[in-house]
């Protein structure tokens, strides 16, 4: 046991003395949460809108007031003729322009039917669609406020409720995604690299000649990274609750337990990588290509799995972070209990057992 502790102590020295790496390991998760939480968001908030009001009457100014009063839009420009629309997009003054034709107020009063036009810069199609939706909602709202005083024909009002994330915040999906990414990166890549480094420097050889059991060496390597991961998860959760306002709706204990399970999956993966590679560079490449990219692309965190072609949907099943991502979303965001994530938990456990036994089988006690 004393031997084991001296191993763990040594690993801490390695991490502690390599300040740059340590800083990255602890800082990266925070940076990612903040970047994903604030910058990389597809929410609409204070979006600039330009307005071409050719009608200039009571109705049109009511609509304009409604738009500028909403927290989604800021009216940044009032245009005077249609030629200015293109320039608005070219100079990035706004990404959406509302055009109220000169007949707008009149039509509304006399024909009970008026048209407005929304023009968007669709070079980013997702944002364009979102902006249209928000603007349409405001205009519909105005229309209904008019209707409340008039006698009108049959009408169906769609009332939508966004459950679990009523404000449609991006952070709700980024936090679980970043958690999966960070765990994978630190546990898998760092374990793989640190073991392979010992092979490269020849210290592994000396240890294999010594009476110490090889599994002990490996376990001792995993423990510091497990601790580092716990620190990182705590940081991420604190940030998400207090800075990003993403609540932990489910049981914290369940979330922690599942995170530890996933950490062990990742450690086993790292171990497996280290047992089949001989250079740090290869280990890093395999970790990046084999884990990091699939985590970003195929876990469902960036792109919905349901929309992928069949082949990719099948591949996504073997990406461990996909299952972990589903678990975090279920527990943290939806507040569900263990019964709803039984399948995911079982898949992860199965993967862990498989990876770990492969790793142990491949771990070479003897050099060839």
């Amino acid at each position: 046991m004393k031997q084991f502790f001296s191993f763990i102590k040594k690993e801490f020295y390695h991490i502690w003395r390599d300040r740059r790496t340590m800083f990255i390991l602890l800082g990266m998760p925070l940076a990612q949460i903040i970047i994903f939480g604030f910058a990389l968001t597809n929410e609409v908030k204070n979006e600039s809108i330009a307005i071409l009001d050719q009608s200039k009457d009571a109705a049109s100014s009511q609509i304009i007031n409604k738009i500028s009063a909403s927290r989604y839009f800021n009216v940044t420009a009032l245009l005077h003729n249609p030629d200015e629309i293109a320039r608005t997009f070219q100079t990035n003054t706004a990404r959406i322009v509302l055009v109220l034709p000169s007949t707008f107020g009149e039509d509304l009063r006399h024909v009970n039917k008026a048209q407005v036009q929304l023009v968007t810069d669709a070079s980013d199609p997702n944002i364009a669609t979102t902006l249209i939706n928000y603007a349409t909602a405001i205009i519909t709202d105005y229309q209904q406020s008019l209707n409340s005083t008039a006698v009108i024909p049959y009408q169906i009002n769609v009332q939508s409720r966004m459950l679990y994330n009523p404000q449609l915040k991006g952070a709700y999906s980024f936090v679980p995604g970043v958690m999966a990414m960070v765990l994978m990166l630190i546990c898998t890549m760092m374990t793989a690299i640190t073991i392979v480094r010992e092979k490269e420097t020849g210290t592994m050889e000396v240890m294999l000649v010594s009476p110490v059991q090889p599994m002990k060496i490996v376990m001792a390597k995993a423990i510091p990274y497990l601790l580092l991961t716990v620190v990182n998860i705590t940081n991420i959760l604190l940030l998400s609750v207090f800075v990003l306002d993403v609540p932990i709706n489910g049981s914290l204990i369940l979330l922690t337990g599942e995170s530890i399970l996933f950490t062990i999956t990742c450690l086993s993966f790292g171990l497996l990588i280290s047992s089949v590679t001989d250079s740090q560079q290869t280990a890093m490449m395999i970790s990046m290509m084999g884990l990091f990219l699939p985590t970003v692309m195929l876990s469902g965190f960036m792109f919905p799995i349901e929309n992928m072609p069949l082949a990719l949907r099948i591949v996504s099943n073997v990406v461990p972070s996909r299952w972990y991502y589903e678990i975090v979303v279920a527990v943290m965001i939806k507040g569900l209990g263990i019964s709803s994530i039984l399948k995911q938990t079982l898949v992860l456990s199965g993967m862990t057992v498989l990876l770990l036994s492969l790793a142990i089988k491949n771990f070479k006690i003897r050099l060839e």
């Binding site: 004393k2 031997q3 001296s6 191993f7 040594k10 020295y13 390695h14 003395r17 390599d18 420097t201 020849g202 210290t203 050889e205 000396v206 240890m207 294999l208 000649v209 010594s210 009476p211 110490v212 003897r366 050099l367 060839e368």
Partner: protein, 248 residues
């Protein structure tokens, strides 16, 4: 004489597929001896040594190390040997003291014993002032000497040195050999592979491997006589020229 045999091999062989890296070698090493294990690159030295250390399993043949069978008693063998690999094998990001502590800890030595012995060792190596410096900051020669001292810190019966003086200047090599003599005087058997023929002269006995076989084994003096050569260099060249394997 048979009692003081500490390494004994009989027809020891290692194959990698069709390639016979070590071809039925048989030799004995006596206790306290400095045994030079020579051969050109690719002659099979490192493979043979790895089998003796338990890093590699022989394909066939027998061997005992310190009286323990290499197939059955690997744990006991590991406790009786020290090993210094071809690559520099201390942690550059740990201090001199931490390295000693760590390696001594592997062998399960008590804290007090480690502490006392570390102080003594640092004094002998004149490294007292460097004790808390990172090993990475030391010159190569000092590192090598430290690595050797760490390899025999747990007082093994045999120490295996795989080209310990590669890339070291002649003065430091000389000092390194003084450490080897000291260890040998304490009764530690030294099994050393080397490329330097002047170092071969320092050994009690020398074996020369060619193409996986041991072609010559004797004291340096006897070898020079048999091959009517003026130096070990010539002996080695005469034998190595017969090699059919490529350098690799």
């Amino acid at each position: 004489m048979a009692n003081d045999i500490i390494i004994q091999t009989e027809q020891l062989t290692k194959r990698f597929g069709d390639f016979i890296a070590v071809d039925h070698i048989s030799f004995d090493v006596h206790k306290g001896e400095i045994f030079g294990f020579l051969g050109a690159n690719g002659a099979g030295k490192t493979t043979a040594m790895r089998m003796l250390c338990g890093l590699s399993l022989p394909t066939s043949g027998k061997a005992t190390i310190a009286g323990f069978d290499i197939y059955k008693k690997t744990e006991a063998i590991k406790r009786s040997i020290g090993y210094m690999s071809q690559k520099f094998s201390l942690y550059e990001d740990l201090t001199v003291k931490e390295n000693i502590r760590f390696y001594a800890g592997i062998y399960g030595m008590s804290n007090k014993y480690i502490k006392d012995k570390t102080a003594l060792l640092l004094q002998q190596l004149h490294l007292e002032d460097e004790a808390d410096k990172l090993v990475g900051s030391l010159p190569l020669g000092w590192k090598q000497k430290l690595a050797f001292s760490v390899a025999i810190f747990h007082e093994p019966q045999i120490v295996f040195l795989d080209e310990p003086t590669g890339g070291v200047d002649p003065v430091t090599r000389r000092e390194f050999w003084n450490l080897i003599y000291e260890a040998s005087a304490k009764g530690i058997t030294v099994f050393v592979t080397t490329h330097y023929m002047d170092e071969a002269e320092y050994c009690n006995r020398v074996s020369i491997m060619v193409d996986g076989r041991i072609d010559a084994l004797d004291t340096p003096v006897a070898l020079k006589e048999n091959f009517s050569a003026a130096s070990m260099d010539e002996v080695f060249l005469q034998l190595a020229r017969k090699a059919t394997r490529n350098d690799s």
